[in-house]
Each structure stands twice: as structure tokens, then as C-alpha cells.
């Protein structure tokens, strides 16, 4: 991996075939839906961006902008309709397993099986990531101590609090100590304390030289964490750069709304 970029996305496109009912639901949930000539929903529309090594890059956008779809494509959970991306030097289209082996993908949608204990799941996922048992054991101890879940390591996930579960989920998603972490909506559904633990940890990871890509619709989170931000709407990149470059001495929120108004003038009239 010689490139100075952890992620290079080239013209990513994702279209979903959908029924009229599903389309209506999407419109209802997100207020908008971008549909192509064949009636497919265009969730991501020719999206290109670069993420430098060692930075925290934030994809900022409203609901339905295509953030989660982009993150899922980068994590190879879904395949792009067109375009490609090099993630840690591997094509998401041709080498999905290699991509998955090099990244940690986190989202509140990824759940741990209630029946098992964090300790068992840590070992299980270490095996799936082919981590050496000794390394895994040492890492488990470190991570569980870092997140304060040592005392609950052998408690079934079903008996853990939501915050504890989320922390266990982060520890388990990073069993292989990846250099690149893709985090979809890091603080979604978390209480303020756990959210703070998570954002602190992301900063800690950056200090350790890790690259982090996160998606969010929370301006304060993007302002506080991100080195660079990509603003996406309707699956397209509207602006990209450092906080200062995008905000231009306004708050990020104001800058964002200016971009939104420029794109959806009809909605502002209402």
C-alpha cells in the first residue's frame, strides 16, 4: 500500500430496483428520492472522493443523502452499480474479502448476538479475522479495559445495557486492529456518555495513526472530529474540503444550509 490515500472512490453509483410502494416509503422517510429513467432509485450518483491516511474524514448530509449506502459500498456489504473504490489499496469490486480484512466497519445496525458473551464474541470474531490467538487474547484484555467492559466480559450480551453493548460492539469490530475504520453514524442511538466515549476513542485512534471515515448528519460532531468533510446530497458531492474551506467563516450549519438552498430552492419557498 504505497498510496497516501486510504480510500480513493471513483464515480461510485448505486441504484436500487424498487417497487412503487417502496419508492413511496423512501420519499415519505427522506422527503426526496432521486429516480432514474428506468424507475430505479439513485441512492449514490457518481460520487468520487479521497480520504488521506491518518485523517478523520466526515461524510455530512441529510437523511437519504446516500451516506449509509456509500459506507456500505466501501465496506463491501453491497456492490456498486457503477464505479469502484480502492479501500486500503484493494478494489471493493474485485477484492471484497481483502477490503473486509483491512477495515473495521461499525454502525449501530450491526448487532451482537444476545446469547453470547462479549468475551466469546471477541474470540469468535478474532478467528473470523484470522488473528493469532495470543494476539487476540492480549488485544481483548486491552480493549475491554479501555472500554470498561472487563467486569461484563462473561455476561451475556442480552443482559448488558445499551451503552455497554455499543462499547462491546466497537471492541469486537476492531479485533483485528485495522488501520482504516469506517463508522456509519457513530453516535446514533447512544446516550450522551457513551457518545462521548465513542468520539474520544475516535480521536485516540487518529492519534495512533488510524484513518477514520465517518458519516453523520450532526454538524457539531463533524466540526469537532473531522479533518476534512464531504457534503453530500441526493447521492452527489456538493462540497469537499477542510472545515475552514467549507464553512468560510460561517458555522458549518450555515454553510450546509446555503448549499441545501442552492440545490433545493423550491423547498425554501414553503
Amino acid at each position: 500500500m504505497s498510496s497516501s490515500y486510504a480510500i480513493e472512490a471513483f464515480g461510485l453509483v448505486k441504484k436500487f430496483k424498487t417497487s412503487k410502494r417502496a419508492l413511496a416509503r423512501t420519499v415519505h422517510e427522506t422527503g426526496t428520492a432521486h429516480v432514474d429513467a428506468e424507475g430505479r432509485i439513485v441512492a449514490v450518483d457518481t460520487l468520487s472522493f479521497m480520504v488521506k491516511r491518518g485523517e478523520i474524514y466526515g461524510l455530512l448530509g441529510p437523511n437519504g443523502a446516500g451516506k449509509t449506502t456509500t459506507m456500505r459500498m466501501l465496506a463491501t456489504l453491497i456492490k456498486p452499480t457503477a464505479g469502484d473504490a480502492l479501500v486500503a489499496g484493494h478494489s471493493i469490486v474485485d477484492k471484497p474479502e481483502a477490503v473486509r480484512a483491512s477495515i473495521g466497519f461499525l454502525t449501530s445496525e450491526l448487532k451482537l448476538e444476545d446469547f453470547f458473551t462479549p468475551s466469546y464474541l471477541f474470540d469468535f470474531f478474532s478467528r473470523l479475522h484470522r488473528v493469532e490467538p495470543q494476539v487476540a487474547a492480549r488485544r481483548k484484555q486491552q480493549m475491554f479495559r479501555r472500554f470498561g467492559i472487563e467486569d461484563f466480559a462473561t455476561t451475556k450480551v442480552s443482559a448488558l445495557s445499551t451503552g455497554m453493548r455499543q462499547k462491546a460492539s466497537i471492541a469486537i469490530s476492531l479485533v483485528h486492529d485495522p488501520d482504516l475504520i469506517i463508522f456509519d453514524e457513530p453516535t446514533n442511538g447512544l446516550d450522551v456518555i457513551t457518545a462521548r466515549v465513542v468520539t474520544d476513542y475516535l480521536q485516540e485512534l487518529r492519534l495512533r495513526g488510524k484513518t477514520i471515515v465517518l458519516s453523520t448528519h450532526i454538524f457539531s460532531l463533524a466540526e469537532r472530529l473531522c479533518d476534512r468533510i464531504g457534503v453530500i446530497m441526493d447521492g452527489q458531492m456538493l462540497a469537499e474540503g477542510s472545515l475552514a474551506e467549507i464553512a468560510l467563516e460561517r458555522s458549518l450549519e450555515e454553510a450546509f444550509f446555503d448549499l441545501y438552498v442552492a440545490r433545493h430552492p423550491e423547498e425554501v419557498l414553503l
Binding site: 465496506a75 456489504l77 474479502e97 445496525e109 473470523l128 460492539s169
Partner: protein
């Protein structure tokens, strides 16, 4: 073997076997419940149809002649004489289930009978009709009044009728059917067991194997999807086929155990259930499974194992379409109906399918193989073909399931 595949299998098995409630409800309970229910049904039905041994039936007779009294007494029937005035009352009592039987013998029974037999017509003492007055063509008759809805009444009716029939045949035998002491049924013990097993067990086996698979597969596939835990697995470097194959193979074990539990329950309860047909005694020997040899069991095992893999594969693929376990259980109903219909069809079969092409049809081929093994007509080539077809379709299920795990519409559908 690949480490991802092994890890998935170990996790699935740990999930199942360390969950006491799951083991109890899918492995122990089905067999136990079937055993208890079938045994209870057997004993309840047989006790409904047998009369307590110390019961004295209330039986009445009008005009019971000397020879008839001897015949019935010899059969252990003790009739109480009744006057003509009370006959209607007795009939009412029988209708009300407080009396069991009323026998009414025609007025000139002995005289008419002698006339019919061409003997000298006796002059019965006190008889209203003289010998010369026996009308030609007047057939001597006996009427038996009983109540078919009362077990005691039915039993004493059958007993009386049997005694009278035997008496009638003894008086003037025209011909007899199976009247001797000989063993008339020439079926060997093996044939009898084979016939019983071949007509019953394929149906039981197929249904229980299917329900065994149904108890574990939707939970593991649709359940993981519903709870969002499958996506957690999909972001690891694990190959999709490893996940699909690992799940299907490991689910076969609890599915097989669950099916075996139900099957054992049925086997153990069959003698109890069959009390009603064989009077409680011969059932166990009728169902003596020792008539089968080791090769029969091996062929059966191969068919059962491949059928379980097939069922788990099919149910897993269907479950992957469902968003919730509940939805999955509804979606697998049509397959269940097909399996049950095909399994039931085996009950009415006298011999297994001989057309080899039909062994290419999954489910049907398994049933046919089971019928043939139990009926001692198994063709190793047909068994091999069935196992091959089942494994091939299962492999196809693994491929389809792997593809489904790659599909965002399947994994992220809401």
C-alpha cells in the same frame, strides 16, 4: 477445513447446545410429548372400547328355549327371563343405557326350527301352537335389541350374536370359512413388520425430519437477519459460501436430533397406540424392528442424512427471503404441505417406485427409498441416486444462500 467455516459451525453448535431451553424444546420435548400423547391416546381409546372384566351385563330374554339357554350359558351369558309386558320397558332401559340387551325369541322357535331342519316337530310344553300348526315357510327368528353407543351393550351383543351364529352353523353347516385351528395368515413375521413399517414409518420420518429442520433453520437464518447480527458477520473477511455452508451443515445436527427425538417417541409409543387393533398383546411383536439388517439401517441412514441436509438447505433459502422468523415460518408452509402430501402418499403404497427417473425428484425420492428399505425391496442404485440428488440440491441451496448473503435487498430489506 477452512477456519471461517469451522468457526461458524462451532458458533452455531454452541448457540444451540449451550441453550438449555432450546435443547429442551427442540430435542427432548417433541419425543416426550409424542410418546405421552400417543400412549395416552392408545390407552384411552382401548379403555373406551373394552368392558371391565368384573362387569355383569344386564341382559334379558323372552321365550328363551332350552337349547338356546344351553348355548348362551355355555358362552357365559346369563339371561334374565322377562315377561311380555316388561319388554317395552326393557327396550327403553337399553335406549337409556341402563340395560344392555334384550333377546326376543319367536313364539314357536323350537317347532319351527325342527320343521326347517326336517326333524320331528316337538310339542313344547305350554306352547300355544301345536305341532301340526307350524306353518310352512315360517322362519324361526331371534331379535336382539341393543345400544351401539354403549360399550357394554355392544360387547354383549357381539358375544350373543357370535354364540348364536356358531349354534346356527353347527345345526346345519352349508360351508365354513376359516373354522379350524390352523394358521391361515401365511405372511411371515418379516413381511408383517415390513408392511407395517413401510406404510407408517416413511410418513412419520419425513414429517418429523421436516419439523426438526423447521425448529432450527428459520431461527438461525431469518432470526439473525431480524436481529441484525448477520450483517456483523458479513463485514468480516468470511466468505459468503463459508457462512452458508457452515450454517447449513451445523443446523443439520440439532435438526437431526429433533427429528430423531420425535421418531423415537413414535417408535416407543406405537405398541401402546396399537393396543386397540391387536388387543394389546401382539403389537410389540408385530413391530419388531429387528427384522432389518445392518445394510437396511445404513441405507436408511444415508437417505435420512441427505434428506435432512436437503430440508435444512431449502428452509434456509426460504428463510433468507423473510424479514422475521415469524414471516419465515409462514413462508415455509407451502413446502411443508408438499412434504406432508408426498409423505402421506406413502401410506397407500404397496410397493416402492420402480421408475428410476422419479428418483430424481427430491422429497419424493426420499419417501420412495424409505418405503423400499422398510419393505425389503431397496435398490442400492436408487438409494445412491436419491442421496446424490439430495446432496446436489443441497449444494445448490448453499450457492443460492451465498448469493443471497451478497444481496443488499435480502440482507438489508425492511
Amino acid at each position: 477445513m477452512r477456519s471461517g467455516l469451522v468457526a461458524i459451525m462451532q458458533k452455531e453448535l454452541k448457540r444451540f447446545f449451550s441453550d438449555r431451553r432450546m435443547v429442551l424444546t427442540t430435542v427432548l420435548l417433541p419425543g416426550l410429548l409424542i410418546y405421552l400423547i400417543y400412549s395416552f391416546m392408545g390407552s384411552a381409546m382401548s379403555s373406551n372400547l373394552t368392558v371391565s372384566s368384573d362387569y355383569t351385563p344386564k341382559i334379558y330374554a323372552w321365550n328363551l328355549t332350552e337349547p338356546l339357554a344351553e348355548v348362551t350359558e355355555a358362552a357365559g351369558l346369563d339371561f334374565e327371563p322377562v315377561s311380555i309386558e316388561r319388554m317395552d320397558n326393557i327396550k327403553q332401559e337399553i335406549a337409556n343405557k341402563t340395560a344392555d340387551l334384550l333377546m326376543v325369541v319367536s313364539v314357536n322357535f323350537d317347532a319351527e326350527l325342527a320343521y326347517e331342519l326336517g326333524e320331528e316337530v316337538p310339542v313344547a310344553q305350554g306352547s300355544a301352537v301345536g305341532a301340526g300348526e307350524v306353518r310352512a315357510g315360517a322362519v324361526p327368528s331371534i331379535s336382539l335389541y341393543y345400544n351401539s353407543t354403549r360399550v357394554e351393550s355392544s360387547a354383549v351383543y357381539a358375544q350373543t350374536q357370535a354364540a348364536l351364529s356358531a349354534y346356527k352353523e353347527a345345526l346345519r353347516p352349508v360351508f365354513t370359512v376359516n373354522a379350524g385351528e390352523e394358521q391361515y395368515n401365511l405372511a411371515s413375521e418379516e413381511d408383517t413388520a415390513g408392511f407395517m413399517f413401510a406404510s407408517l414409518l416413511p410418513m412419520f420420518l419425513m414429517i418429523f425430519l421436516y419439523s426438526g429442520c423447521l425448529a432450527v433453520a428459520p431461527e438461525s437464518i431469518a432470526g439473525e437477519k431480524e436481529r441484525g447480527t448477520i450483517a456483523t458477520l458479513l463485514v468480516t473477511p468470511l466468505k459468503r459460501w463459508e457462512l452458508a455452508l457452515g450454517k447449513i451443515l451445523s443446523l443439520c445436527i440439532p435438526a437431526l436430533l429433533s427429528g430423531a427425538s420425535s421418531f423415537v417417541g413414535v417408535m416407543l409409543s406405537l405398541p401402546n397406540l396399537y393396543q386397540l387393533e391387536s388387543g394389546g398383546s401382539g403389537a410389540a411383536s408385530l413391530l419388531d424392528s429387528s427384522v432389518y439388517g445392518i445394510s437396511d439401517y445404513l441405507m436408511l441412514l444415508a437417505v435420512v442424512l441427505s434428506t435432512v441436509v436437503l430440508f435444512v438447505g431449502l428452509i434456509s433459502v426460504i428463510s433468507a427471503f423473510a424479514r422475521t422468523t415469524k414471516e419465515a415460518n409462514v413462508m415455509v408452509m407451502p413446502l411443508m404441505m408438499v412434504v406432508m402430501l408426498v409423505a402421506f402418499s406413502a401410506m397407500f403404497q404397496t410397493s416402492s417406485e420402480t421408475n428410476f427417473v422419479l428418483y430424481l425428484a427430491p422429497v419424493y425420492n426420499s419417501v420412495q427409498c424409505m418405503v423400499s428399505v422398510f419393505g425389503f425391496t431397496a435398490e442400492p442404485a436408487a438409494i445412491a441416486l436419491t442421496v446424490g440428488v439430495n446432496l446436489l440440491v443441497s449444494a445448490l441451496c448453499v450457492v443460492v444462500l451465498s448469493r443471497m448473503f451478497e444481496s443488499e435487498r435480502i440482507i438489508f430489506s425492511k
